[in-house]
Symmetry: D2
Subunit: 407 residues, 4 copies
């Protein structure tokens, strides 16, 4: 039996699902796991799935966790691919939105299923235990904790090492990984600014939340531009702003959704304090009669790669794929919730990125200095990793790295 | 037969409908017109209704048009009234929204039906023709033109005078009206700012439309604060702002809805030019690769009361309701599309405001200097005219004013 | 003896002096008063001068005060006139600045001296007393109070009527005056925003007062654009902003000078409260460790023309200069401190504007809709009233108006 | 003979001079050089001084350049030191300003004179040539190029190595240095925004440059917050903003002085383009009739330490001062013009920082997380390096490093 990984990938890509709604995706996964003869637990963290493979011998040996995330994003796909998504979903606010695998989680699921098939087929060659975790809701930063809350760490052997990977706009064939902080810590905040509504022709009778929100957005820029050491990484993104239903009604409130990034907890405390200070002061500048409401929707730790384990993975990759196949991509400002699986057990983590872009196109963009502009990145409506060799390499990465730790 | 105006008003208030969707409201109106024995034309401007009454004699005499508007607003009612609306509707963007008669059009319809009943009952006392127009979509500034496009001016005798009224937060018992410009001209614009989306952690790869929108909103304040003569009336309201679906995705575009107000066409041209200049320049400041898209959703002329006809109405009101019952409320910055009915025929217009607030509460707020804050105004979720004497007075106003012009 | 008013005007124009420094100007005035055989008091309010003329008879009759202001402005003259100013002065901060009669006070002094000569020559024709007041520091809004503090109201007969005039960009030949509020109330504020200085390359160690000031300026726009009734007059101008000495040093503070305008005391209280709220909140948004310092530099009352006295002046002007020579120019947003002379005694005031622009040029600009742009206004470096007929008309205005009240 | 370095330092500290005005400082230097029996050339780059010492033997051997900068800053000293500066100077705009050695160049001059005395005294112990360069106008980023233009590289032997140092808020006893980019590249820009002036009460007749400037400052924040990779170093500081002379005159223009920082030429081009784009677009948003004028006042290359030479200096320091006495302080966002001396000749450069803060105070601040706040940094009015051991260590640093390269 061999999984048709191409067909699997295309199917997943066509049917992305929003966070914690990955029921169809979970169905595809469990169908394939069953076909591989594996038992699994489903419904972990609502829609997550986990399984395990015991290697040759008596099961002694290290426990290696392999993790893939499952969810899509509310992004309207514009890739023009024959298998582009036209799916829609209902977001937590009840709004009907387009959905797309704009972050490549379909590739992650495909690669992990492919790796499991290979590890099953070769299980006499290694000893120890592989635990495979298909995690929901990475985009909410909530899926790994939800699986832990549902007992995934108790129902499977605890990890000696946690491995994970992410497809990214590097050239195909290249893996990027570094010891230490690989990805930033992150918080997602919802800020509700409370004004007073009224008729659009009588602003003096209102406290205009649109102006309050605009002034707040402009002032929030100064956290990064003026208040953080220019040598430190910090991001303050207002990813959404919503107020009002009609040009001639001044609404009573405005909502901002913020995504914040930093390398560590000290920076987090620093930036969060500044953001809150600005939000409250801008409400005061508007004469708001109610304090703004600031809610933390999720809070992600930094993704820190264990130095020794990372060195082993790098060596294994260079041995398998050739010298020059691994680069240090620097710290990424994106964030991940994979590290909770390792943090909870004090286990080391290695999380790497693998490229999905045509190397020639990448080189051309690099020569033209237009990488940022021409190479669609994760979360773009144009994000479209090459199917080949990305799928194969994703499988190989997991197998090579896992085998490095399995006895 | 007597219409139960209280029950009618409560029924309309409980069942507000968005612009061009006033089918239930039209049904209530035609039911009452039929009960009065009047013929009517429905479906004018989609959901509008018109009827006429010929006075005693042979129908000779002036043609007096009486107009009431019918639509509600996407406002979540918070009045706490026993008959508060819990209705919802679907706005043009397909979004499910709460609906409320936050502008008092339910009162307008009630008063006009009451006036028609009285005019029918007394038709031997006057000669000429009364045409009653129940107009949809005043809130879009589109209903009167839609009724004209559907031939209302051809299917009924053309007006010698157009009369209309609006309930407002003046003390009950008071009418406000002035010759000349009574209400401002207005344009409703939708501005779409085009950036480039991407991951919230990588702003450098995007052109952030949230920041572009915020900077635009802040700059638009300077049209009124710096570029218009401080003695002139001008309003630039950004009534809605929408961008993004999620904190960690920078969206590709932002939408602003603007409501602009001015006393005349020269000021309109001036303000529109400045708004466009700012919108385009702020997009350029962001390095936008596409020009913003600016669409005029509606454009309302100023509401100008004919001097002679207004003097007649004022005299008739003072005679009927006592000296001091009519005040000059100044020009209002709100706008209306009623004047199209008059403009199309070169007929004079008189449009007045009548108060719906408890006089004691109004006087107390005035003494405390808190009228703006304590007296809910049109479009507020707390807007709630007293049923009595507002309904009766609305009926009286129409009858007295109409009789002034009917022979 | 006849004063050469042309030479006098050119001399004054060439030698403008800053507020409370009008010593040369006072010398010119006293020289001319002496030549007219008039006694005077100098040094009133530092550099002010006053004199009086008793009419024929025994001095019985009304006391008419005529007032002219004397000071120039820190504006670099760019009129290109042969008699353009190249003068410089030292402002209160000790800075060397260019000085120009950019507000036409040289014309005011010239006209008053010309009027005095005429009134002296004709004093047998009238009875009563004319008091002529040459006031310093109108531009600081401080000169009239300084003269009062120095006893001008005690050392001269108190006024039965106070008259004053201002040259303005109306067509020559036209006087603008209205009963009621003729000019706005005004406050001048200095706001010092306190941050923390440091090296320009290390913003994180500072509290950047330049950004604090910029955010404050942007937010202050919303007072007029959002918080004042669009039908009311209000101006919030930040006339100066100063911070820092060098690109690579972040300074410790920033200074803003604000000019606020409103029609009455209620609006003043309202606007001042909003300005203070915004200034304090923007400092808080910056995380300022010290409260901003807000100082009121001057506070001018509205200039309110007495209704009856204004009617008399208008009638006298129309009789003297023809029908159509007087217009109602509306309320001006500029401010004056002339009214203190009247307020202190409860005397009526009439303050009018007379035009100094070539009527053909004015008409052309009006036709082209470019009056604001093409006709240089008071305080512009291009402000240049025609010498003729402006000087003669300024003299005539004062004589005609004074004679209206003199017995 | 021994120079009294304490007295020398105090004298220099009390008498700081602005850039290119260091005549008294040059006089002190030449007096001391003469006392050491050294010939010198003065007037290089207006006020710079250079000298040389030939070591024992025939002068063969490497040429080591040692550089100190001389100028003070327009900062009002607030250290409260008994020898605090009360000096004043006239800046290029002709403004009288306070002057302070807020960047420690007095310490640099003192240390270099002390080192020269030591090198003279020991010249039999080494061979080669030491060239000592006392450079003016480092704060303008213009002094080294001015000295080169005046022939310093021709009148003295060209360097085989250029060495320089800067006192900084590290603990006394610690040197910070790193191979590669040690300090950022920098540009200083003056931006003149051109509006149209007028009376403060009539903003509609003006193009308000204060608002234009404020909007520009706010928008410039987005270069760093949105348009630069969060992992890259970039600073956009508006160090000064000036417009207007009086609250009631809207000025015709505003001036901004910007300091920009980046690690390399690619980043420079990128940031400069964005700054220019924003400045031009914000002028357009104001409806400016003239383009803003953007002038580059100075442009500093990155300060790049030669890897091999830096390793030698580090080893020499650790040998002389103990292990742990040298740290990698990371790249500094400050900039220097020292590297022109090396760049012009293709010679290697080593530029290090030495600490001048009481170690106990530094440790306490670090423990409290208040280093940024409590330890005054260069350009602060409170900047005050300890005299001891900072002077001695500055001397030792130069001697040890120079001797490392001298044969």
């Amino acid at each position: 039996m061999t999984i048709d990984l191409d067909a699997l990938y295309i199917d997943l890509h066509r049917h992305p699902e929003l966070s914690f709604q990955e029921t169809r995706t979970a169905g595809v996964i469990t169908r394939e796991l069953a076909a591989l003869g594996l038992e699994y637990v489903e419904g972990l963290g609502k829609t997550g799935v986990a399984t395990s493979i015991v290697g040759g011998g008596d099961g002694d040996g290290p426990v290696v966790w392999l993790r893939a995330d499952m969810d899509g994003l509310p992004v309207p796909e514009q890739t023009g691919l024959p298998y582009a998504s036209t799916a829609r979903g209902t977001d937590p606010a009840g709004t009907d939105v387009p959905v797309m695998h704009a972050c490549g989680h379909d590739m992650h699921v495909t690669a992990l299923l492919g790796a499991l098939e290979r590890l099953v087929a070769t299980k006499d060659e290694w000893s120890g235990t592989v635990v495979a975790v298909f995690q929901p809701a990475e985009e909410y930063g909530a899926g790994s904790q939800a699986m832990i809350a549902d007992g995934v760490l108790d129902r499977f052997p605890k990890p000696d090492i946690v491995l994970g990977q992410h497809v990214t706009p590097l050239p195909a064939g290249v893996v990027g990984v570094r010891p230490g902080t690989q990805m930033a810590a992150s918080d997602g905040l919802t800020v509700t600014l409370l004004g007073r509504g009224g008729h659009g022709s009588r602003p003096q009778a209102t406290i205009d939340p649109v102006v309050m929100a605009a002034a707040t957005v402009m002032r929030l820029q100064t956290v990064v531009s003026r208040e953080v050491d220019p040598r430190d990484v910090a991001v303050v993104t207002v990813g959404s702003i919503h107020a009002g239903l009609k040009n001639n009604i001044i609404p009573a409130e405005a909502k901002l959704e913020l995504s914040l990034r930093y390398p560590d907890d000290e920076a987090r405390a620093n930036v969060l304090a500044k953001v809150e200070r600005i939000v409250r002061a801008e409400a005061a500048a508007s004469g708001a009669e109610q304090e703004p409401v600031i809610v933390t929707d999720h809070s992600l730790p930094p993704t820190i790669n264990d130095a020794d384990a990372t060195a082993r993975v790098v060596a294994a990759f260079e041995s398998a794929f050739g010298a020059g196949s691994v680069i240090d991509p620097g710290m990424f400002t994106g964030s991940e919730d994979v590290s909770w699986f390792a943090r909870e057990c004090g286990a080391p983590l290695v999380f790497w990125f693998w490229g999905g872009v045509d190397p020639a196109a990448f080189a051309a963009a690099q020569a033209a200095g237009t990488v940022e502009k021409d190479i669609p990145t994760n979360h773009s409506p144009f994000f479209a990793p090459l199917m080949h060799p990305t799928i194969e390499r994703g499988v190989d990465n997991l197998v090579v790295a896992a085998r490095e730790f399995l006895a």
